[in-house]
Symmetry: C2
Subunit: 190 residues, 2 copies
DNA sequence: TGCCGAGGTCAACGGGTGTTGGCATACAGT
DNA sequence: ACTGTATGCCAACACCCGTTGACCTCGGCA
């Protein structure tokens, strides 16, 4: 992913139109109900274009979830601020684009979605945790606890949209969740 | 729901066979990928029987998720034990049968699934919280925080099956999550 | 100007879906 | 024993899906 560049081929505009439409459809409908036909209609082109450029529906989905979740540099951070920084960063990620929403929606029913979710967990969250936990041996467990709280909040707030969770301000979410995350990483094992 | 009774009609055995098969299919495949034909095959009958007894696929799903989550009586409980009791009870619920798993799997993509999930939240969790929170005005918010942690753990442990989360013992889950839940309900607002 | 390939449309295929109506069978009540 | 009804199966319908291949239409180049 090199981000924005000037289109070298004429078809690039169509390519990204498909990708944008796919992002929204997968995010709001999940994998099964997001049909190739609907995505093509949103992008204003023929369904066969989707196949030409992405090979198959599965290939299109792979392109959608192929993004890097750039984790913040935590190396010289006050360990007491870990909870606040992590929760704030996660809120940013969830609100910036739709890819995590897509991943969560799809990961619950689709194998390649949950694979990718596990992969993000293992390559991004676990290593970050490893640098701060008291005992590296249980870094995975502590990362899983953090994931449970963060994904759970994302679930009720952005996907299921429970009223009280969706209405909370960012500050309140951080204020409530940061101590939890902080404890999961740095506290003594109970 | 009167529970177990002697079958009055000959078809009751088929009825429950369909329901059992549907429970498993919906729980493991989600709504879209659980086909009427596959459910009927599992139940050993013809797909048209499903329609005769439950009207439609949607009606069958409604029957599957029409269950009461009997909440424990918390009225004379030591408020300090709230976290432990709640987390333990939730683990029981998730491990006893598949209905919550179904609800979570389906609620993420299907409207009637997430409706039911919101309904369970509003009629079971919020009232329970109302009895213990310092200020009844924010009972909903505190209940939402509890839901975020509990559903999040269920998500990574039972649905996504993140290794470290799935491998934790019940005691460890309770030991880690109970203080979080306790704080969400009884602690001063930050 | 003539050509050629890239970009795009169109119609169709094979398969799977939820759902329906007709027909057989076994049972219960008289 | 006879009959009406509950129970079940079978075949088909209409629809939607992902995917394919044949065809058209431009823009750039010799």
């Amino acid at each position: 992913m090199t981000g924005s560049e000037v289109p070298r081929r004429r078809s690039d505009v169509t390519r990204t139109a498909i990708l944008d439409a796919a992002r929204e459809r997968f995010a709001s409908d999940g994998y099964e109900r997001a049909t190739v036909r609907a995505i093509a209609r949103d992008a204003g082109i023929d369904p066969s274009m989707v196949m030409r450029y992405y090979g198959s529906k599965e290939g299109l989905f792979a392109a959608v979830i192929d993004v890097e979740l750039d984790f913040p540099d935590l190396s010289e951070l006050d360990p007491d601020q870990l909870g606040v920084v992590l929760v704030t960063h996660f809120l940013d990620l969830w609100e910036r684009d739709t890819v995590l929403r897509t991943l969560l929606r799809v990961g619950v029913t689709n194998a390649s979605g949950s694979d990718r979710l596990r992969q993000v967990f293992a390559t991004q969250l676990v290593p970050a945790a490893r640098a701060f936990v008291p005992d590296p041996a249980d870094a995975e467990r502590r990362a899983a606890l953090v994931a449970s709280q963060v994904l759970g909040m994302a679930l009720v707030r952005y996907v299921l949209q429970f009223g009280p969770a969706a209405d909370m301000s960012r500050q309140d979410v951080v204020a409530w969740l940061a101590p939890t995350v902080q404890r999961y990483i740095t506290a003594e094992a109970p």
